[in-house]
Structures are given as structure tokens and as C-alpha cells.
Amino acid sequence: MGVGAYVAVSAALFALGVVCIIARRNILYVLMGIEMILNAANINFVAFNRFGGDGLDGRMFAIFTIILAAAEAAVALAIVLNVFHLFDSIKPSDVDLMRE
């Protein structure tokens, strides 16, 4: 399979991630969507690293993305906990204090 197929899978996964963030009314889906988007990016990194260059740069970036995702997940979940504590709900539509 050529690089085009991987890029296509990555793009599809990215699109699905965005849909996941937008379509559902639960903050956890937002988190899951973000994970999908990050994974889509990782596929691209690794694929281009495999087909394009001969170094480790792409894989390096993928590792960092994973680390970032881990940190993001931890912080995001902590935020979710706080949101739940404050608003007694985890619907993103309820969390709209920023409008004021």
C-alpha cells in the first residue's frame, strides 16, 4: 500500500474525530474525538516518515504526540471532574459561562 492509502485513512479518521466532537452532547465524546484527531495525525507522521525520509523524525513526533495526548487526557479529565463538580453536568452545552 502506498502513502496515499495511509493518508486517506488518516484524513477519514480526522473527519470522524471532528464529527465526534461536534455531534454528541457529552463532554466525554469531545475527549474521544480529540484522541481520534491526534491518532490521525500520528498515522500521517509515521507514514510520511516511512515513505519519505530515512530518519526518526516522524516517529519522534509521533512519540511526542502520544505523550502530549497522555498529558492532555489527564488534564482534561481533571477539568471534567471540576466541571462536573461546578455545574453538576457534563454536557458541553451547559458549560457556557464564557459567554458572559
Binding site: 502513502v3 485513512v9 464529527v19 466525554l28 484522541e35 509515521v46 509521533a62
Partner: protein
């Protein structure tokens, strides 16, 4: 009627997976079949995740997505990264999300088919349009030829490569710092305020 839609979705999904597998087998042999299988696992998992009514099931569907991505990494010769993907995403992040799931009260009415359907349609449309345009404009000159085997594949060599002094040591250290800070921050944000635990004041003149 509702059950019909559910079943229809999964049937469609199965059919699409089969079609993909066929396409893969025909265009790339066993390698193509494997690629098609992992791609189907990835995208199917994502679709199920969006579609499913229960958050728990969505989370487990996400497991499939992560596994599929790990498989794609394997196909790309990045064993180390595949292992890291399984360890961190499946072992860590998914577990975190499942913790979060425990917070949310079950709400079967949360999923609006119209909303999900509209989202999927719009997303698919956008993907298709951009994909078509990209496919038309970008020339994948190397796409057809089989790529050379990666120079570094074993985890040990990759580790040495990553950590060689002139490579990414500083970046790794920075990543470690970022991770630490993020985790500390997470703990700080998530902790209950002291006021929540404050017990009623002791009576005067206790000691």
C-alpha cells in the same frame, strides 16, 4: 423502527469493511488485506464510537480504533511506536476515559440521530470533497512502488537512536518535564477544595 436503524448501521458497516477488504486483497495481496483490515478496524471503531448510544460502548469502540492504528504502525515498520500506542492509549488514556464515564449518568436520550447523521454526512462530504481535490492535485509519485525497509526497526535500536546525545535527548527531557507538570496540574485541578472537607470548628477552649 429504531432497532432497524441500528441494525442497518452495523450491516452497512460490515458491508463496507468487506468491500474494503476485497479492494485491499485485489490491489495489494496479503499486505493489502492486512492494511484494509486495520484501516477498517480504525475507521469502523471511530464510527461505532460516534454512533453508539452508551458511553461505555463508545469507549470500547475507541479501543478498536486505537488497536487499528497500532496495527497500521506495525505495517509501517514502527514496532516500537505500535507498542507505545497500545501501552499508553489502550492502557492509560482509555482507562482514564472509562473513569470519566463513571461520572456521567446514563442518558439514553442524549444521542440525537439527526445530529449524528447530519454530522456524519457533513464530515463525509467534506472528506470526500477535499480528498477528491487532493487526489486530483497531488502526484503521489512514489505511492505505487514498495518502500524500502526501514533502517531501524527494533525497539532497542530505536531507543538508542532516540536517546543518542546528538538526537533527541533534550526533547525527551522536555517531554518528561511537560508530562510531570501536566500531571501535577491535573492533580491540582482535580483535587477537592479544602473547604469541601472542612469539619465543623472545634468547641472553644478545647485544649
Amino acid at each position: 423502527m429504531a432497532m432497524g436503524i441500528e441494525r442497518g448501521f452495523y450491516a452497512l458497516l460490515g458491508l463496507a469493511a468487506l468491500a474494503g477488504a476485497g479492494w485491499g486483497l485485489s490491489s495489494g495481496g496479503v499486505g493489502g488485506l492486512l492494511f484494509a483490515g486495520f484501516a477498517a478496524l480504525t475507521l469502523g471503531g471511530a464510527l461505532v464510537c460516534i454512533w453508539e448510544r452508551s458511553v461505555v460502548r463508545s469507549a470500547f469502540a475507541l479501543l478498536a480504533t486505537f488497536g487499528g492504528v497500532a496495527g497500521l504502525f506495525l505495517l509501517l515498520g514502527a514496532d516500537f511506536l505500535a507498542m507505545a500506542q497500545i501501552l499508553i492509549y489502550v492502557g492509560g488514556i482509555l482507562a482514564l476515559i472509562l473513569f470519566g464515564v463513571m461520572l456521567s449518568p446514563p442518558d439514553p436520550t442524549e444521542r440525537k440521530l439527526s445530529r449524528v447523521g447530519l454530522g456524519l454526512a457533513a464530515g463525509g462530504g467534506a472528506f470526500a470533497w477535499v480528498g477528491a481535490k487532493v487526489a486530483a492535485t497531488v502526484h503521489w509519485s512514489q505511492a505505487a512502488t514498495p518502500p524500502p525497509a526501514p533502517k531501524l526497526s527494533h525497539a532497542r535500536e530505536i531507543g538508542v537512536g532516540f536517546l543518542a546525545a546528538d538526537q533527541y535527548v533534550v526533547a525527551f527531557e522536555l517531554a518528561a518535564v511537560v508530562l510531570t507538570v501536566a500531571l501535577v496540574a491535573a492533580v491540582y485541578i482535580a483535587r477537592r477544595k479544602v473547604a469541601d472537607f472542612e469539619e465543623p470548628a472545634e468547641p472553644e477552649g478545647g485544649i
